[in-house]
């Protein structure tokens, strides 16, 4: 720069430089970096937020680096998955209202193309609305196969462990609803037993973990769950 003052070319050169800088940086995605108050640039994509002195370094060096690229693709992936989630939720949101408002089979039939989660949701709302989710009835219809199999599975488990009478279980919709709750309770109870120090053996029988202490009068879950 001119040291003599006056109409120096210095300022102009500075403007030019700034303009060039702006041009260089134009190629880069705007949300991928941030300009710091001291004029340096920070890359927002890379997890460790590297600070770069000049736009040139950002656009010519850093952006082409392997770490940045990895971070970029990761970012894109994340963005995609987020978008997917959003779509899913949106789809769910506008169907839920219909599901609640109507319990007719036509609506249910028309919903087979909706995403999986929605089917689950519908099945749940069905149950809550008092429909019978029994295996036999569900088998007849061709919709929501996943839900069906799930529920069947619970039932089988129920039958095998509790050795209860299958005909009783499938008797009425209230009982089915009860089963749903049972599953939750059962899971909760299992977790409780595990955190209290019980373990399962290969025959799904409970035994005490030898490193854990128990009250002397603690009930054996094999006994009271078996009934």
């Amino acid at each position: 720069m001119s040291v003599f003052g006056g109409d120096s070319w210095g300022r102009e050169a500075q403007y030019r430089k700034r303009r060039v800088d702006d041009l260089i940086i134009e190629g880069i995605d705007g949300c991928g970096y941030k300009k710091l108050p001291n004029g340096k640039l920070v890359c927002l994509l890379c997890p460790h937020h590297p600070v770069l002195d000049t736009p040139l370094m950002l656009s010519q060096m850093h952006v082409k680096g392997s770490r940045h690229r990895a971070a970029e693709s990761e970012q894109k992936e994340r963005e995609l998955s987020r978008q997917y989630q959003i779509n899913k939720r949106i789809a769910l949101a506008d169907s839920s209202s219909t599901a609640v408002s109507s319990t007719s089979s036509e609506v249910r039939c028309g919903s087979t193309k909706k995403p999986l989660i929605e089917q689950v949701h519908k099945a749940a709302s069905e149950i809550l609305a008092g429909e019978s989710p029994q295996c036999s009835t569900l088998d007849k219809s061709d919709k929501s196969p996943d839900v069906r199999s799930d529920i069947c599975y619970y039932k089988k488990e129920n039958q095998s462990i509790a050795k209860s009478n299958a005909t009783e279980v499938v008797a009425a919709p209230e009982v089915a609803f009860q089963q749903q709750l049972d599953y939750k309770n059962r899971r909760e109870r299992e977790l409780k037993l595990i955190s209290a120090g019980w373990k399962r053996d290969a025959h799904a029988r409970w035994f005490k973990d030898e490193n854990v202490e128990f009250d002397s009068d603690e009930e054996d879950p094999n006994v009271y769950l078996g009934q």
Partner: protein, 1212 residues
């Protein structure tokens, strides 16, 4: 995150103290070191200790000494610190600061083994100073004066001896011969070489004399002699005509007189009769008092007993050494005998005290003497004594000390406007629970009920020259009550005041007449009883009044102002009328300046949110000089004049200033500076005081004008050490107040609240907190709060003491033996009317607990109601058990509700190796509405449970290095899950959701997770820095704050991506955890904040000290200081304060030579913390320096001060 660090309560403990005449002449002052703070104290005429100056030095003060050049009138201060420099300070009386005269560098900074600074000794004739290290190095500086009588210092002369440990050094008084210094040393060179340990067991301490040859300018070892291996301290004996010269060597059980070429004179230190035989007696502090004809020493033992030591000598021959019991006071770190007849005791723990000498121990008492020393086969025959109450000393003042703060919690338990700080302080019998409230303490002098609910109160003098007020005038809704102040306060009717109407203002007007303004007029009562009435025109009534001694302005309803002046004859004359645009909300006239006829300014507040300043000058009377708009209608106005001050004892330089204060209806106090000439207002500041509109009153504090603001709580604005401080008073809501002065109470306040009249005085100005102390039995360890029941549960434990019952029994035995009844002896009983102290002739607070064997522990659990200060339940633990951890726990689906878990250890011993018999966890249930505890069961564990915490309806316990999860069983706790992978000892556990933050005693934090489906605890992250954790608190999901034992405060945070990864991972990072990294957890936390506090932080809490304020981190330290770290909310503030800090570092380096940056980075480089204590030194800089720094920051000094005030107000 950037934090602003500010000390709220400076350190209250004392490390060492010296006395002398630092301001010159006859005055006696005390200089005390409080770790990193140097204070100058002086007992005032009433025997109260006043702090004249307090300076933070940003370094560690390790030793202090005073010296005086021969023939000089003034003492200098030598400071040995961790700066690797010796600093000589002089107190400047005029400007009230310490002047650094010399600063000589000799070594590296930091408290190191061989860098001098630990010991200081002065030649009694003030010719040389020796500064010593713990090992090897000793340097001698020759002090002299040049032709201009300035102090000069030489280059250092070495008196080093390698492989030598130094225990104590002192100067030897040998008149004007070459200066000699004495040192107790131990040579370990042989012990170091000998692996068998024989040499180590035979190592012998020596007393060595070093002579400074002033002619040759050289230091040589002059003489060395064996001393007892228990020798720990040296005391100079006067010489050179005043005494025999030489030194007193204080050793275990003995005091020995030694001098070169003189046989040892040895006397035994008397022992307390109840002291176990295994315990020795050591001297911990000493003071020498010298008068023209005699001298004596006061030596204090580690049990608090003071002995007077006298030497019977014939010129240089000492014939007898006598040790006589003097008195017992709490153990001190330093004793200072002042020439004015005071003894200042800087306590080791607990409050410091100032005593006055009643006698100098001439009465006969238990005495040990060198002449009667008997040596038998078992050793020397001991002398026994029984401590008694103070005979030679009487305590006249106390200086409060929080040292050490063991635990602290900020909580608003009393539902006051600001939260209270509950802190456990002190040690042994002097331990207390102190409730700190931000604000000044007040002492209530009188409360009296009035017949109705008063609306206002005033005090008036009869004559302007009177010292005391004559009347208190109280206004009610429809009457006025006049009380005269004399011996008693009683109602009078002959005062001339109209009592059938409410009053608007009552004041002294002119020189000797009184004025009462009531809604329909002004009543002017002349000294001779004549009464002049001025009536309002028409049916209009007076709404507001403003007056000073010579001027009165009234505002009528509708907004008309009428201005009166007192003329030459003392008559009140109407001068001017002025119509305002609307009703007047409030008005005030500035006080009449010195030597002037009238004040020039009238401030009028209107309901249109403006304050106008009107002129009262005859030439432009009632012209508006300036206009200030405010955020809300003003309710009250007050002009406060600050007189010019040029240094002096209690102030920095500042010119005269006129401040206009306005209390706004939204509860804000608005403060501006009014130009004394033009009346223009500038530099506006506002502060929210409370929910009610502040009413402002002018009162007198320490002879200066101060401002009392009554909002939802009272505040006082006053000037302290050159700063304007606005602090709340710890008192209830007041309606109206006036200053009060009578012969019983020179500077008081009379106020009305409800239907009561209250008279009080304001105490201990300049302090941030006022405290309420509740005594405890043993050293408090930890406490928990039960917010619902508003009670505290405290665990206390002490080593080497007897339980309460044993003490009671032995005390009784002891009194029976002495023939004294429990309530003092029979003779005293007859006299009757003795004070309370006599009822407990040996209070433990004063005398300490009788000592038991060191392996004995006593401990208790206390349930305390802090509101009534009553202990509702106190359980003493039996069988040598001591409590170390406590928490409340709610076990899920168990019937008991909240339970209390206490971790204890049985038979804990630290020496020769840490060992214990057993550890337990006790479970207590609350009964009788939480007032009483009942033991449910206790569970033996294999380590000491040092940390307990509730977690998901179970109890987490840190037992040694094991983290364990317990469930409640019928007879004991049931171990459900554990993790044994912690490195040393778990000292803290915090939980948040499913995360567990575990603090290890020397390995910082470990972040853990509990997996319910696998019943497993695992560590997923830890710290890379080995931190010796002393305090910890949970900041947010990923962040923990901790403090280490080297005085550092730090924050660690789990990086966001790692945290997300762990939360998203269905295995919770288990697979990674199994791999590990660097012999630890797979993830590492990052340090985000680092700051060296310079004091061991013992407790940390996230809290806000003001209502609606942002949360910060509040900490308490061993030295008894309380500080806070507040996060900045704007980047601009960070920039501003970091620049201010940078400039202050350059322009105002710390007093004792430690570099500020190096100090704050003593162990780890300081990170993202701005030192508010340094920034707050800005106002103490000279004005030109302030301006220079302000220019560099593109601001004015006033703006910087405003900024500092603002940020302080955000914290407290």
């Amino acid at each position: 995150m950037f934090l602003y660090s500010l000390t709220l309560q400076r350190a209250t403990g004392m490390v060492c103290a010296i006395n002398g005449s630092f301001s010159g002449g006859k005055s006696q002052e005390i200089v005390v070191a409080r770790g990193k703070i140097l204070d100058l104290l002086r007992p005032d005429d009433n025997g109260k200790l006043q702090t004249l100056l307090s300076v933070e030095i940003f370094g560690v003060i390790r030793s202090l000494a005073q010296f005086r050049l021969t023939g000089a009138q003034k003492d200098y201060i030598v400071v040995g610190s961790d700066s690797g420099r010796v600093v000589i300070l002089e107190y400047n009386k005029e400007k009230n600061y310490f002047d650094k005269i010399h600063q000589e560098t000799f070594g590296k900074s930091g408290c190191r083994r061989i860098v001098p600074g630990q010991y200081l000794a002065i030649d009694p004739k003030g010719r040389a100073a020796m500064i010593g290290a713990c090992e090897k190095q000793k340097l001698v500086y020759v002090l002299n004066r040049d032709t201009a009588t300035r102090l000069t210092i030489s280059s250092p002369l070495e008196a080093h001896k390698s492989h030598t440990i130094t225990y104590s050094i002192c100067g030897v008084d040998c008149g004007f011969d070459n200066p000699i210094f004495a040192a107790i040393e131990l040579d370990y060179s042989e012990a170091d070489q000998d692996p068998t340990g024989v040499a180590a067991s035979e190592a012998q301490k020596h007393l060595t004399f070093y002579e400074l040859d002033l002619g040759l300018n050289h230091v040589s070892r002059k003489w060395s002699d064996q001393v007892d291996n228990g020798a720990n301290m040296l005391v100079t004996v006067p010489g050179g005509g005043d005494g025999p010269s030489g030194v007193l060597v204080c050793a275990e059980n003995f005091v020995i007189y030694k001098n070169q070429g003189h046989p040892d004179v040895r006397a035994v230190i008397p022992r307390r009769a109840d002291l176990p035989a295994e315990r020795g007696v050591l001297i911990v502090s000493a003071a020498m008092h010298k008068q023209k004809s005699m001298f004596f020493f006061l030596l204090q033992t580690e049990y608090g007993d003071i002995f007077k030591v006298t030497l019977d000598h014939d010129n240089d021959r000492v014939k007898e050494l006598k040790i006589k019991y003097f008195d017992t006071i709490p153990v001190t770190s330093s004793l200072c005998v002042l020439k004015s007849g005071f003894l200042f005791a800087a306590s080791e723990f607990g409050n410091h005290a100032l005593y006055q000498f009643q006698a100098i121990g001439d009465d006969p008492d238990v005495e040990a003497s060198s002449a009667t020393l008997m040596e038998t086969e078992e050793g020397f025959q001991p002398v026994f004594f029984q401590p008694r109450k103070l005979k030679n000393l009487v305590r006249i003042d106390q200086v409060e000390s929080l040292m050490p703060i063991m635990d602290m919690k900020v909580i608003n338990l009393f539902e006051e406007e600001t939260p209270q700080i509950f802190s456990l302080c002190g040690r042994g019998p002097r331990s207390t629970l102190r409730i700190l409230r931000p604000g000044l303490a007040i002492s209530e002098m009188a409360v009296s009920q009035l017949p109705g609910v008063p609306s206002a109160v005033w005090t008036v003098k009869k004559n302007v020259n009177d010292e005391f007020d004559a009347y208190i005038v109280v206004s009610f809704a429809n009457a006025t009550l006049v009380l005269s102040i004399g011996e008693t306060v009683e109602e009078v009717s002959d005062s001339g005041f109209l009592d059938t109407t409410p009053s608007l203002a009552v004041s002294l007007i002119g020189d000797d007449s009184l004025m009462q303004v009531h809604p329909s007029g002004i009543r002017h009562i002349r000294e001779d009883g004549r009464i002049n009435e001025w009536r309002t025109p028409g049916k209009r009534t007076i709404a507001k009044v403003g007056s000073n001694r010579l001027q009165v302005v009234i505002a009528l309803n509708g907004g008309e102002l009428i201005y009166f002046e007192v003329d030459m004859t003392g008559q009140l004359m109407e001068v001017e009328k002025h119509e305002m645009s609307g009703d007047v909300a409030c008005l005030d006239i500035a006080p009449v300046p010195e030597g002037r006829q009238r004040s020039r300014f009238l401030a009028v507040g209107s309901y249109d949110n403006t304050i106008r300043i009107l002129s009262l000058d005859p030439d432009d009377c009632m012209q508006i000089l300036s206009l200030q708009s405010v955020s809300s209608p003003p309710e009250s106005l007050l002009f406060l004049e600050v007189q010019a001050s040029f240094g002096g004892e209690d102030g920095a330089d500042h010119p005269a200033n006129l401040f206009l204060n306005a209390g706004l209806q939204n509860g804000v106090l608005f403060r501006t500076v009014v130009d004394m000439v033009t009346g223009q207002v500038s530099d506006a500041r506002s502060r929210f005081l409370g929910l009610r509109a502040p009413k402002l009153f002018s009162i007198t504090v320490r002879g200066r004008r101060a401002m009392l603001c009554l909002s939802s709580r009272p505040w006082l604005g006053y000037i302290h050490q050159g700063h304007f401080l606005l602090t709340p008073l710890s008192y209830e809501t007041l309606e109206y107040a006036a200053s009060f002065s009578s012969d019983q109470c020179a500077e008081g306040v009379v106020a009305v609240a409800g239907d009561a009249l209250r008279v009080f005085t304001i105490e201990r100005l300049g302090e941030t907190f006022n405290e309420t102390a509740i005594p405890l039995r043993y050293t408090p360890r930890k406490f928990v709060v039960q917010p619902k029941r508003k009670s505290l549960i405290i665990i206390e434990s002490d080593q080497g003491a007897f339980t309460a019952e044993e003490r009671e029994a032995s005390k009784k035995e002891c009194f029976d033996a002495a023939g004294i009844g429990e309530n003092g002896n029979a003779e005293q009983m007859e006299n009757g009317g003795e004070d309370e102290e006599n009822n407990d002739p040996l209070s433990d607070e004063q005398y300490g607990y009788p000592k038991a064997e060191s392996e004995r522990w006593v401990s208790c659990i206390r349930v305390l109601d802090p509101r009534t200060t009553q202990t509702t339940c106190l359980l003493e633990l039996q069988d040598n058990e001591a409590a170390f951890s406590i928490c409340t726990v709610n076990f899920h689906d168990k019937e008991y509700g909240t339970l209390l878990a206490v971790g204890t250890a049985k038979g804990l011993q630290y020496w020769p190796k840490r060992s214990f018999d057993a550890g337990y966890i006790h479970i207590y249930r609350f009964k009788e509405d939480g007032k009483v505890l009942e033991l449910l069961h206790k569970t033996q564990v294999e380590g000491i449970p040092l940390a307990l915490c509730q977690f998901q309806g179970r109890l987490l316990a840190g037992i040694g290095s094991v983290l364990r999860l317990y469930d409640l069983g019928k007879r004991r706790l049931l171990r459900k899950c554990e993790n044994k992978l912690f490195p040393n000892t778990i000292t803290s556990i915090h939980t948040y959701r499913d995360r567990i933050y575990v603090g290890d005693i020397q390995e910082s934090f470990h972040y853990c997770k509990y997996r319910r489906d696998e019943n497993q605890l695992y560590i997923f992250a830890d710290d890379t820095v080995p931190r010796w954790l002393t305090a910890a608190t949970h900041v947010d999901f990923d962040t923990m704050a901790g403090a280490d034992k080297f005085g550092n405060l730090y924050f660690v945070r789990l990086p966001q991506d790692v945290s997300d990864e762990i939360e998203e991972d269905p295995t919770g990072g288990k697979i990674k955890w199994e791999q590990g990294k660097l012999n630890g957890a797979p993830n590492k936390v990052e340090e985000i904040i680092q700051f060296h506090v310079g004091d061991v932080v013992t407790c940390l809490q996230k809290a806000s000290l003001i209502p609606g304020g942002g949360e910060g981190l509040v900490y308490g330290t061993v030295m008894g200081s309380v500080g806070a770290l507040l996060p900045f909310t704007s980047r601009d503030d960070v920039d501003f304060f970091s620049h201010l800090e940078m400039h202050l570092r350059q322009e105002h380096p710390p007093l004792c030579g430690r570099d500020h940056m190096a100090y704050r980075s003593a162990y780890f480089p300081v990170k993202d913390v701005i030192d508010g204590d340094l920034c707050e030194q800005f106002p103490t800089l000279p004005v030109d320096m302030q301006r220079k720094i302000a220019d560099e920051l593109d601001r004015t000094p006033a703006e910087i001060l405003k900024k500092l005030e603002e940020i302080r107000n955000k914290i407290i």
